[in-house]
């Protein structure tokens, strides 16, 4: 395992812990987005470019976006 791999593994572990430690769903979606980004960097370092591309879309954009939209729907008082 080279230095770059160790570093990206560590960042994934840190970002994952950060997602669990964040309690507010809105902030957590941002943390999850950062986690998705770290995960896609790890996949790039491990030479899986196709998985990286889908991880960027799904992990860093689609899932946080859906969480943000759900939070917006469930917490908006005027819209209910």
């Amino acid at each position: 395992m080279n230095l770059l791999q160790i570093l990206s593994f560590l960042m994934v572990a840190l970002a994952g812990t950060g997602v669990v430690a964040t309690r507010d769903p809105l902030l957590q979606s941002m943390a999850a987005s950062f986690f998705g980004l770290q995960l896609s960097i790890l996949f790039t370092v491990l030479q899986a470019p196709d998985v990286t591309l889908s991880e960027i879309v799904v992990g860093a954009v689609a899932i946080p976006l859906m969480v943000v939209l759900t939070v917006a729907k469930t917490s908006a008082k005027g819209a209910q």
Binding site: V57, L65, L69, T70, K73, G78
Partner: protein, 253 residues
């Protein structure tokens, strides 16, 4: 007292688990050390048997293709279920997606953001099409390429407005694409059974490895899955956005 018992219980359990965990980790093969015979077997046979360069694509769509049919129908059912949940209910009505907050004004559209969207949309679309079509030659394939295709439309929303995205998903065209992709995959997989072969047997001419039309059914499977995944993700995003931006409780009149 109970607190102390809990802590002692935790410490005992944690020590036991930790000891077993460390022992198990010490017995693992080192990082990157591959021992199983299956990967090597696939890499040895994939070029000769299937004229495919991509071992992963050959495994997912040919060697264990039936699993992929199930995976794909799980995705289909999940998107369909999410859309069913987020349809307008009887007590709700569709309104235009106007800003609901009254205490602030809308920021003016920034030309740099729109410019980024205009540049990114065609290139992401092109990259998605490339990844889908070359799934049997280079890393990628229907699932990854389909997600990329859908993300091109995410740029439309991110750099513009909900109404811009709505133009693409209006009518039933995207739904038709999604259903047609899923149906084409399952039906193409059933073609060999007409001749008495097993389901999903690669009976198409295999061609020459490295060419766009090679590896038999693989490019066709990739295309149908790519269309289904792209349409599914687009529908998912648009139904989420519609739920938040456009669906309101029907006011008692």
């Amino acid at each position: 007292m109970r607190q102390q018992v809990r802590i002692i219980l935790f410490l005992v359990a944690a020590t036991l688990f930790g000891a077993v965990f460390v022992a198990a980790m010490a017995g693992l093969p080192t990082f990157g050390d591959y021992r199983g015979p299956y990967g090597d077997l696939v890499m040895q046979t994939v070029l000769k048997l299937r004229q495919a360069q991509q071992g992963v694509a050959a495994v997912t769509f040919d060697y264990r293709g039936f699993d992929t049919v199930c995976e794909e129908s799980i995705l289909f059912a999940a998107v369909a279920g999410a859309m069913l949940l987020m349809r307008p209910q009887e007590s709700e009505q569709l309104s235009d997606a106007s800003d609901q907050a009254s205490d602030r004004s809308l920021p003016a559209p920034v030309s740099a953001v729109i410019g980024c969207g205009v540049v990114m949309f065609p290139f992401t679309l092109l990259l998605g099409i490339y990844v889908v079509l070359h799934g049997h030659l280079t890393p990628g394939g229907g699932f990854q390429g389909g997600v990329l295709l859908a993300s091109a439309f995410y740029f439309v929303y991110l750099s513009g407005e909900y109404a811009d995205l709505l133009e693409y998903v209006a009518g039933h065209l995207v739904t038709l694409f999604k259903v047609a992709g899923a149906a084409a995959f399952a039906l193409m997989a059933a073609i060999p059974t007409l001749k008495g072969h097993p389901y999903m047997l690669n009976v198409m001419p295999l061609g020459k490895a490295g060419e766009l039309l090679s590896a038999g059914f693989l490019p066709l499977y990739n295309c149908s899955v790519g269309i289904e995944v792209a349409a599914g993700f687009l529908l998912l995003l648009s139904s989420f956005l519609r739920q938040v931006l456009a669906i309101r409780k029907r006011r008692p009149s």
